[in-house]
Structures are given as C-alpha cells and as structure tokens.
Amino acid sequence: MIRPSCLFVVALVAVIGGIGPGCTACTDPVAAEGEGEGEGEGEGEGEEPPPPFAISTKNAVAWKRHHAVERDLMDGLALQKGELCNELGLYSCVDFVHTVPLGGNDPFVKSQYEPLAAPTVTTSVALERLVLSACVARVDKDVAGPAVVFTALSLGASPVTDVEADATAVILGRRLLQRDLEDSELAHLRDLTDDGEGNAVSARDYAVLACLTVGTMAETIFY
C-alpha cells in the first residue's frame, strides 16, 4: 500500500514544484517558492542549476481553472463527470466542495461574483484530492478491465519493470499533459516503482502514484 506521508510529499512536490522541466516557459513565483520547499522536505537535490535554454521573462503563467482541469482529467483518464471526486459520495468536488480553491466562483448562493485572482494555499490540496480520486477511479476500472489507460501494466502483478513503468509514463504524459515526457521525467517516475526503502510497490499502487504525480504537475493547473 502507498503510505499517506509518501503520497503527500510526492503530490506536494509535483503540484507546486513540478518534476523535471515541466514548465519550461515560465518562472512563476508560486512554482519558484514551491521548488525550495519540496527539495527541503526530502528530495535533497539542492538548488537546481539554471535551465540550459531560454525561458520566458514575462512571469505571466495563467491559472487553469476548475472546469478546464476537470475536463482534462475526464478526457485524459476516460472518465465521466460523475466518476470524478464526490465528497461523501454526494457533493461534486469541482462544482460544489472545492470550487473556490480550484479557481471557480459561486455567484448564486455565495454571491461570489468573481473567482480568486491567484491560487490559495488550499489549491494544491484540492487539486491533489481531485486528481487522486480520478486516478483511483481509473485504476479500479482498469483492474476490473478492460484496461483503457494502464494498458502497459499487469495490474495484478508485482513488481513493475522499468519497461512497463516507462511505457505507462509515456501514456500518462500524453493523456494528462498532452506531450511526450522528458527522459528526466521518465527517470523520476521510474523511481516510483520502489517505496523508497527498497521494497517494490504493486503495479496497482504504481499506477496510482504515477497518475497522481503526472496529474498534479505544475503544468496541470498553470499554462
């Protein structure tokens, strides 16, 4: 099983720091702050060297709001709206419970006539909740079969081979980020086949972890 603390660290790093050069065109201040936190908590890689290519100097990434994030998850993981996060099985995370931190607003009940201008401290938590729920739903459906997304894994088996991990990562990159992942990103995701203490994780847990990691990268909500 995936330890909750491990999940949190992975998600936090992925959400606010990104893995690899996930946001090569921006130097967003939110992302910049997150990089430091993530490294300090466990990565231990020190300060990243400057990118070997030109980066944007506009500092003007946009926040992808709730419904676009929701739609991208639905498209990427081949899920219906009702299969995404519902708190208590009743209340839509996107349309009701986490609407505001995900970038939406409620004009009719809360008289909130404009959405927040920038993400809040709970945005990453809400995003993680949404993405994790979607990933678990997709993995469960693929385990029940026929597999739609995790077609490169033997979901009932363990451990996951590097070939399987890379193939899965490529699929997730194309489905969730609409691009091919960099080699460095594939290497990061390959690390998820191990729980950090030398034990192999199950294929099912790897599928959830890889999905959560790719699905909560900075470019999931910034563009």
């Binding site: 090569t24 290519f53 100097t57 009719f108 006539y113």
Partner: protein, 471 residues
C-alpha cells in the same frame, strides 16, 4: 482633446497660496464654503490634457491619480499643487507639464513615464519595468519572447473550449500548413461550444448581473428571474451580434434562445419572473426586471442602479472615484437625502445624481405594474427640475424615454468599447493587461467599431495579439 463643459468655478486664486493639503480643497471643490456648485474638476481637466494616456483612454482618470483618499493628496498631487501658479482651471495643464520630469513617488520612473505606461505616479508600489528579452539557447518547447502559435493554440483551447488540446490535436496543429488558419478555425469551434456559451461567458456576466439565488425564481422569496439576464448577455456576445445590444436590446431571449419582444407576464401582482417593459422603454441589460429590482429596490432616485450600470458596462466605478464628470449645479439632492451637505458627498453625487435621473421612472420592488415596471407615477419631483447627463452628454426627456437615450450614449462611448475589450482580454490572460499590453488592448477596443461591435471579431483579433500568444 474633448471640449470641456463650463462648470462655473470661482477664479482668481492668489499665486503661491496653494500648497499641500490646502490644495485638496482647491483641486476638489474650489474655494470657500462648500456649495452645490463645488465639485471635483480635476479628472476632466486632467484627461483634456492627457487624453491619450492609458488612464484617460476610454475612461476618466480616477481621483486616486492625485489623491490618497480625496481630498488628501498623494505625492504626485502635492507636486502638482506646488506647481500651480494661478487659478486652478487655468494653470493646471501648465502645472502638470512642469512636474512631468519629477519622480514624485520615488519608484525610479518619472511622472511622465508613469503616465505613458499607465502606472500611478503618486504610488511607489505602482510601477512597471519591461521584462528583459529572453536569453539562452533555444527553448525546446516554446518560442519564448515571440509569438508562439502552439502556445496560443493551447491557451485558446483552454480559454474558449475549456480544455487542453489533446496530444493528437496538438500534434496536428504543429504540423498544420497554415497554423494561423488552424487557430482561427479552432476558435470558431470553441466559441460555439457549450463551455463558452454556458459556462465561461455567464461567469463574465456574474459581476454585472449580481444574481442572488434566495430572491431569484426558485428562491426563498422570489422577486425576479436573473436567467433572462444571463441569456441576453450570452446572446449579445455570441454569433455575429452587436455587443451594444448589451445596452440597447429592446428584446429578451427566452429559454429556447428565441428573441421575444414586449411585456412578458410573470407571477402575481409584481409580475415576478416576467419582463414588464414595453419595447420603447427597454435598454438591454440595464432594464431587465432583475437589474431594476436588485439595484433600485425601494429608492426613488435609483443611484445604485445607475452606479452599477456605469460600473458594469462603462468600467467607471464611482465608489472608487472613477468616472467623475460633475454637472454644474449638482447635486440638487432632489430626494432630500442630504447628499449636498458635505464636500465628501458632493464629490461623487455631482456626477452620480445626473446619471440616476433617467432610471427614476422604473420601479424596483413593488409599485404600479410590478417589479421593474415603468411607472408614470414615479418619481415625485417635476421632471424639468433635474437635468440628466451621461459622459457630459445631456439627456432630454428622460421622463418619457427612460434610460433608452442613456443606453444609446453609453453603447457608442469609448468607455463601453474599453470595458468590453478589457473584459475579454483579462479573461483570456487570467490577469489584467499590463502596461506593455495596453496598446494592444486599445487596438482591440478601437477595432470594435470597424468590426460592427462583434465580440467574435474581437476574440479573433485577441488570439493574434502578442499579449495572448507570446510566452
């Protein structure tokens, strides 16, 4: 330069007597005891002098340009006050010019540089330094520093289709022989999508309609139906329609998307949920039952209604000291609310009250004909006792015409064009346009005229702009 309307301020300011906070009185309300003829003339004079600066393009400069909270001056205002050498109205242009080379707020930009950029010369936290050109080897994913069609395609898809382009769509776009054509073709598809018409556009309407579920149809105490408002907003800003219909539509849009004219019956004595106005009293979004009900409520002089129309469709928020164009002899305090008692009230009400007279014939909540109806029994004063005015244009016969002429003046104003362009550009970028993007914003606003005020045409121009497509 716009011709100034005579306002009858006293003249003869002794040279050298006006400094510091004393200038506040001069700038805002002239000299001596406050009277109904005292008013802030600064914004009008300022924009006559700097009519092509961002603060005056499609707007009247805010009092905040020179004041912290009127009548207190900020650093820039104090510099101007110190440079006055004679009667305020006569020498203000000269004083403005005299301090152009100074840096009143010490932020490293001269006053003139800030005026040109559109930042505030009296606020050290308001400044802009253009970003440096990107340097380094070629970015593998983005054409940073110049227009990147793939980046624009992705931004367009998220903004107007509500989703990222798929991996296959992105690759197909990358290999398109004519990426510009592909971008615009895709935009047409997105602008017809459910996301744009039922989600994104309605959210742009929220702060203009200001719905409240508890008193909407289906709410606890239904008083009007704001669904009519949302439908008209979307209708006017989609297809090849004229966006000025936001203010000039004499029709409504029913639940099936059909145009319907005239009175639409509602429930009960107050006609709740219907639309009580005949065609010749209709003026788009600012005369729906909801708009009149929620803003006018029980007011005889609907100041809140006029202020919201001014804010929502002309971008001028009087509560923020924006758009102040005082009318001579105002405020008359025609409804005896005491708005001519204090200088701080007069500042805004000399503009606001003349804006409001045209709305006085319409009910808010209750009254003959129901909520939002035009009631010949309103208001209690003699129509000739007041003069309605919008953007320095006197409006005749509002007792009979209601706000129809108000809406016509507004719809053809640069303020309306600026508001529409700003609304769409801010939505697309996810932030307000920055100083180095204001020329493109102005171009979008100006070209609305050539494009027949079609929002779709504006959006096609927008996706071609550097602000939109340069990562």
């Amino acid at each position: 330069m716009k011709a100034l309307r005579p306002i009858g301020l006293p003249t003869g300011l002794p040279t050298g007597l006006v400094t510091g906070s004393c200038f506040a009185v001069v700038l805002g309300i002239a000299f001596g005891a406050a009277t109904a003829s005292a008013k802030p003339v600064g914004p009008r004079l300022y924009c006559a002098h700097y009519d092509d600066t961002p603060a005056c393009r499609g707007a009247v400069v805010s009092c905040a340009q020179c004041h912290t909270a009127a009548p207190d001056l900020n650093a820039y205002g104090i510099e101007i006050a110190s440079a006055l050498t004679g009667p305020y109205e006569d020498v203000l242009p000269e004083a403005l010019t005299a301090v152009e080379g100074n840096d009143a707020d010490g932020d490293g930009l001269s006053n003139l540089e800030e005026l040109i950029l559109g930042t505030r010369p009296g606020d050290a936290t308001s400044f802009f330094v253009p970003p440096p050109a990107p340097s380094g080897n070629t970015n593998p994913r983005f054409t940073v520093g110049s227009y990147d069609a793939a980046f624009a395609f992705r931004r367009m898809s998220i903004a107007y289709c509500g989703r990222s382009p798929s991996y296959d769509e992105a690759n197909a776009f990358a290999s398109a022989a004519d990426q510009s054509q592909a971008l615009h073709d895709a935009l047409d598809v997105c602008l017809a999508s459910d996301f744009w018409t039922t989600d994104a556009l309605p959210r742009l309407a929220d702060k203009r309609i200001r719905p409240l579920g508890a008193i909407g149809v289906g709410g606890v105490i239904p008083l009007a139906d704001f669904a009519w408002d949302y439908r008209l907003f979307v209708h006017a800003l989609t297809g090849d329609r004229d966006a000025r219909d936001l203010l000039r539509a004499d029709y409504h849009i029913d639940v099936d998307g059909n145009v319907v004219d005239g009175v639409i019956a509602g429930d009960g004595d107050q006609q709740v949920g219907g639309q009580p106005l005949v065609v010749d009293k209709r003026a788009g979004m600012i005369t729906t039952q909801w708009f009149l009900m929620i803003h006018t409520m029980f007011s005889e002089l609907p100041r809140t209604t006029a202020a919201q129309a001014y804010r929502a469709y002309l971008g001028q928020d009087i509560a923020r000291s924006e758009g102040l164009l005082p009318v001579d002899g105002e405020p008359k305090d025609i409804d005896n609310k005491g708005v001519d008692d204090q200088e701080t009230c007069i500042y805004c009400h000399a503009t606001l009250d003349p804006l409001s007279y045209a709305f006085a014939g319409y009910n808010g909540i209750g009254g003959s004909g129901g909520n939002g109806a035009f009631d010949n029994g309103r208001p209690s004063w003699t129509p000739s006792a007041v003069e309605s005015s919008l953007l320095d244009v006197p409006l005749q016969n509002v007792a009979d015409r209601g706000v129809v002429d108000w809406a016509d003046v507004a719809a053809d104003s640069p303020q309306f064009r600026q508001t529409i362009a700003t609304m769409f550009m801010t939505h697309a970028l996810g932030r307000a346009p920055r100083p180095d993007e204001l020329d493109e914003l102005q171009n979008l606003a100006d070209r609305l005229v050539d494009d027949g005020y079609r929002a779709s045409a504006l959006l096609h121009r927008l996706v071609d702009s550097d602000a939109f497509g340069v990562p």
